[in-house]
């Protein structure tokens, strides 16, 4: 697999480490049901078969955490971007 890194360009997948579903929001620890929210945040995943957004870490490259949009059924890869808006601004 080839995964484009927004900083380094297209690289071999062995340079990356996979984490999982992107877009999870760390819950507010002061919320009334924080325990339940953290449980879901840590354990519950959509496990989509199809187009997903995933977190990858360019661990043997620039160290960027990136969001990769990809189809888990076909391995088709659509987009790859910095996980943080801030970094995207910095790169301009």
């Amino acid at each position: 697999m080839r995964i484009p890194c927004p900083f380094c360009g297209e690289r071999d997948s062995q340079e990356y480490a996979f984490l999982g579903e992107a877009g999870l929001i760390r819950p507010d620890p002061t919320a009334d049901d924080a325990q339940k929210q953290f449980h879901d945040y840590v354990h519950i995943r959509k496990n989509t078969a199809g187009i997903t957004k995933e977190l990858w870490h360019h661990v043997h490259g620039c160290g960027s955490w990136i969001v990769v949009e990809r189809n888990t059924l076909t391995h088709e890869l659509f987009t790859s971007e910095y996980v943080s808006e801030r970094l995207r601004e910095l790169s301009k």
């Binding site: 080839r2 071999d12 760390r26 620890p29 325990q35 945040y41 160290g63 960027s64 955490w65």
Partner: protein
């Protein structure tokens, strides 16, 4: 006997370079340019091996990598390689080959008695015969089957040769250098694209090497030669010979292996035997050609029965005549081509049997060599024809394997009587025979078109040039899937000894799906993956189940196209180079001192420093601990992870990462920190020093260094990108030594520059400071202690690491300094009840480890909320305790389980387990740390430590995990 069947002229062999080789110990001669198969054929050898199941004599069927029969063991000793196809082994001087799967000899094989057992060795025989009793399987059946069946044997020792791994990048990858591939490479190369052209053979040309065809009214090989020169002179084209593209992967990644030195006796200096590539190609063109199909008739496996295309290769490319009196059997116009090649080179054509006229071959006769065949003509008349060679041509199967590697299935094309590629993977085009376009002109046209298209798609403008023109030709073919009136065994899969009756049986017993039939009969599951077998198998399954071939469908092809040796995948990653070895800054010095090293992760660390030859680890450890606790010891702790964090939000960031609070830590002070995973379990620990208002230096465990770094990156980039903090690993930039013991300060005072005050008042416990030593060398000093003694860690830029350890030993001599290794380090930390690997096992919480005070209740941090889960608060959870054996000289073992006295060993009665043990020189007793259920309330209890692996069952007394100096008076001294 010297090359009786070698033609006096012609071929692409070099008669001026004779080569000697042996087969089964017998000496033979051949020429440069031969394969092992062609040289043996030239020497009149027709028997190459014995078959897998029935041990039937087998010869050569093909002239390429699809060969199912002629498998040999190549070379000897540790270079021995089993299952090498004689048809692809290039001959070299001194080559040693041995036949396989026979005992005691190829000519006389006692296991050929299996032929008589054929009725029970049919499809599914493994399942049927050996089902019961189950205990017989491992002890009786499997060893017996393994002895009788199976192919070659692997060598016993280590492969002495090197293998390499490499990447290659190109615009257009052309797979196969036959007419289609060459034509495609020319088109793309002339347009300016970066082209890689590869072929599994040593010569470019593909079928043009074997078939005396013409291009542009010249012999085709002239065209190949011209094209090769042109391609070699194009700077944007790279040609790889002896390179097989074996797999197609996602996003235009192709797996390939280049046989760099396989054609030589031993690899030249500094050359690998093979090199595996990942080729990253924007576009690829598959010009892999096609493989001719054999025919399924009685005893069709007799040596001397060969594919027509292979016979033409042996005659035309290798000038080796496989027989003197041939019968040419064909269901296409290929037969005539073979007959012509044979006749032109002195063989007698006994008959041409063209099934399109209604004549069929029913059976072959002969044992180790075909002697005659039986023909049934269209009127039912039977006749025998004597011969020593049978050429069979039954149409072609496109070599479309790579098109399937991402899951696409081939489709049956009735007009071509062949499977052709289905939906193509992104970026791939197919040209020529691989697409089912079997004539030379089609191959040239296809290649040109595909090459131009590929070049255009990657941004180059194709150059117009004349399409090479071939002689007029037509592919006319009406396949014969099997001759039903045959007697004798009709083999479909030669390598796995699968016959047409096996397929019938599978169908009769309900294995009608092609996937089921494949597994039940093992059709196509041998090392050749059924390249010559599969389609006939499908056709026969269709016939017996009244389905068309397209209804039956096909199984799928997976990588690799041909077998790849594991060495090529491993590359240099073997033995000590399996993974990197990291050496500490004091490694060379420690080595000079005779230290014994041990692997910890990637690091080599000193385990202990024997003082005299033969001092064992226990004696050395006891001495090292005693001297350290009584005087002073030094230990290289550079392996701990070091992460430098800076920025105005660094303190806030650390507050969120650690369970403790770091924003309140004054500059110049160090604090112990505990990190949790978000699920509430302990992740890592270490000390973090505040070097400045916005500058922290974190340490991690040795094992956790890279995981912590990735975790910090995650937290910063994903969770809190708004925090202004930057960090980098400086593990390798700083050499760090722990100096521990009552004399530690005296030693340091000798090294630090005069203006540096390290008195207890000026530099108390948990202080840190940037200092200079030895007259201006910058250093970092931390007053932290893992050993429980008055201790410091001193860090210097890595390049001073070796000098510093030597300096420390020199100035420390008057204070009795010794170096100590991991054993002593570990003992001292157990004496102090510090948690490490055994306790930080990913299943323990701060509460379990007695570290709940480290969790600030005033703020959130990673893992805080989940660490408060009700289940984590249950009193029955195993928690950290210390323990001592009742008999203090009894050795304790890590991993032992705690059981109450009188309890039976069972999961229900399990009370926890031992995480760390050591012999404590300070207490003169073995001691241990463990995780014990309800441990807090069991101080003073006597229970058992039971280790079934090491067969120990000892009484131990539970105690506080801090064995030594519980109030920490020593380290504050």
């Amino acid at each position: 006997m010297s090359q009786l069947n070698r033609l006096t002229e012609g071929g692409l062999i070099d008669r001026s370079k004779p080569l000697k080789f042996t087969f089964d110990g017998k000496r033979f001669d051949g020429f440069q340019g031969d394969t092992l198969a062609s040289a043996l054929i030239a020497n009149g050898v027709s028997l190459f091996g014995r078959s897998f199941k029935y041990h039937r004599p087998r010869g050569v069927l093909t002239a390429g990598s699809e060969e199912p029969n002629a498998l040999v063991e190549l070379r000897s000793g540790n270079r021995l390689e089993p299952n090498m196809r004689a048809t692809t082994v290039e001959l070299f001087d001194g080559l040693i080959a041995t036949s396989q799967n026979r005992w005691p000899s190829l000519n006389f094989d006692v296991m050929s008695i299996n032929s008589l057992l054929a009725p029970i060795l049919t499809a599914g025989f493994y399942y049927k015969t050996f089902m019961w009793p189950a205990s017989f399987w491992e002890k009786v059946y499997e060893p017996a089957i393994r002895r009788a069946a199976g192919l070659g044997k692997p060598p016993e020792g280590f492969d002495p040769d090197h293998y390499e791994k490499a990447f290659a990048h190109c615009d257009v990858l052309v797979i196969g250098a036959g007419p289609a591939g060459i034509s495609a490479a020319l088109a793309a190369g002339r347009a300016g694209a970066r082209v890689i052209l590869c072929d599994e053979n040593p010569l470019l040309g593909g079928r043009l090497l074997s078939d005396m065809q013409h291009i542009n009214d010249m012999p085709a090989l002239e065209w190949v030669r011209g094209a090769t020169i042109e391609l070699e002179n194009l700077p944007n084209v790279k040609i790889f010979r002896r390179m097989t593209v074996f797999g197609l992967y996602d996003h235009g990644v192709y797996g390939a292996v280049e046989r760099v030195s396989d054609h030589l006796d031993t690899p030249p200096p500094f050359q690998p035997r093979q090199r595996s590539y990942r080729i990253i190609a924007k576009r690829a063109i598959l010009g892999s050609g096609a493989i001719e199909r054999p025919m399924v008739f009685g005893d069709n496996d007799r040596p001397g029965i060969m594919l027509g295309s292979a016979i033409r290769t042996y005659v035309n490319q290798f000038a080796a005549l496989p027989g003197r009196r041939a019968v040419v059997v064909s269901s296409s116009n290929d037969g005539l081509r073979t007959a012509e090649a044979l006749k032109n080179n002195g063989a007698e054509i006994a008959a041409v049997i063209d099934s399109r006229n209604g004549d069929v071959i029913q059976r072959a006769f002969g044992g180790k060599r075909v002697q005659a065949i039986q023909v049934r003509d269209k009127n039912g008349g039977i006749r025998m024809i004597e011969c020593d060679l049978v050429s069979v041509s039954n149409g072609w199967n496109p070599s479309l394997h790579l098109t399937c590697h991402l899951g696409s299935r081939p489709v049956w094309e009735e007009s071509k009587n062949a499977f052709i590629p289905g939906k193509l993977p992104q970026g791939l085009a197919v040209a020529g025979a691989a697409q089912g376009n079997f004539t030379l002109q089609e191959a040239l046209d296809d290649g040109l078109r595909a090459g131009n298209e590929a070049a255009e798609l990657v941004g180059f403008s194709p150059i117009n040039f004349a399409v090479p023109s071939a002689e007029p030709d037509k592919y006319e073919h009406k396949p014969v899937w099997r001759i039903k009136t045959s007697k004798g065994k009709c083999f479909v899969d030669f390598q796995h000894d699968v016959t047409d009756l096996d397929i019938e049986l599978a169908n009769r017993e309900g294995f009608k799906s092609v996937e089921h039939m494949k597994r039940y009969t093992t059709l196509g599951m041998a090392t050749d993956q059924g390249k010559t077998a599969n389609v006939a198998g499908l056709a026969i399954l269709g016939e017996v189940s009244n389905r068309s071939i397209s209804e039956v469908g096909t199984t799928i092809f997976r990588p690799p196209y041909t077998p790849v040796t594991l060495g090529a995948f491993a590359g240099h990653h073997t033995h000590n180079e399996f993974r990197p070895t990291r050496l500490t800054p004091s490694h060379q010095w420690a080595n000079e001192r005779g230290a014994v090293f041990m692997e910890t992760g990637l690091w080599m660390r000193a385990q202990y420093f024997p003082q005299y030859p033969g001092e064992n680890w226990l004696e050395a450890m006891i001495r090292e601990v005693k001297v350290t606790r009584e005087a002073v010891g030094v230990c290289d702790v550079s392996t701990l992870g070091k992460i430098d964090l800076q920025g105005e939000d660094a303190a806030t960031f650390l507050d969120r990462i650690y369970t403790g609070t770091f924003s309140t830590l004054p500059t110049g002070r160090v604090r112990y920190g505990l990190m949790l995973r978000e699920d509430g379990f302990v992740f890592d620990d270490g000390t973090t020093a505040r070097m400045g208002e916005n500058h922290f230096l974190m340490t991690t465990t040795t094992a956790g260094a890279s995981k912590v770094m990735a975790h910090l990156e995650f937290c910063h980039q994903v969770l809190w990108p708004e925090l202004n903090v930057a960090f980098t690993s400086v593990t390798e930039q700083w050499a760090q030594y722990s100096i521990a013991g009552p004399n530690a300060r005296h030693v340091l005072e000798k090294l630090v520059d005069p203006e540096i005050d390290i008195s207890n008042d000026a530099f108390p416990y948990m202080a840190c400071k940037s200092i200079s030593i030895c007259g201006g060398i910058k250093a970092r000093l931390f007053r932290i202690s893992f050993s429980g003694e008055l201790a410091y860690e001193i860090g210097v830029p890595n390049r001073y690491g070796d000098a510093l350890i030597r300096a420390l030993m020199k100035v420390g001599k008057e204070f009795g300094i010794i170096p100590y290794g991991l054993e002593a380090l570990s003992t001292m930390r157990i004496e102090k009840g510090h948690v490490a690997g055994g306790e930080l096992n990913g299943q323990t919480t701060p509460l379990d480890l007695g570290l709940i005070k480290m969790v600030s209740q005033k703020k959130d941090c990673i893992g805080k909320k989940m660490s408060e889960r009700p289940a984590f608060l249950e009193p029955d959870r195993p928690v950290l305790v210390g323990f001592k054996p009742k008999n203090r000289t009894t050795k304790l073992t890590g991993g032992a389980h705690f059981l109450n006295i009188g309890a039976k060993p069972s999961l229900d009665d399990d009370q926890g387990h031992v995480t760390s043990t050591a012999y404590s020189p300070s207490l003169n007793s073995w001691i241990g740390l463990g995780l014990l259920k309800n441990g807090k309330n069991r101080m003073g209890d006597t229970i058992r430590s039971v280790d079934f692996m090491r067969k120990t069952d000892e009484l131990v007394e539970i105690c506080d995990p801090i064995f030594l100096d519980p109030n920490g008076e020593r380290l504050r001294g």
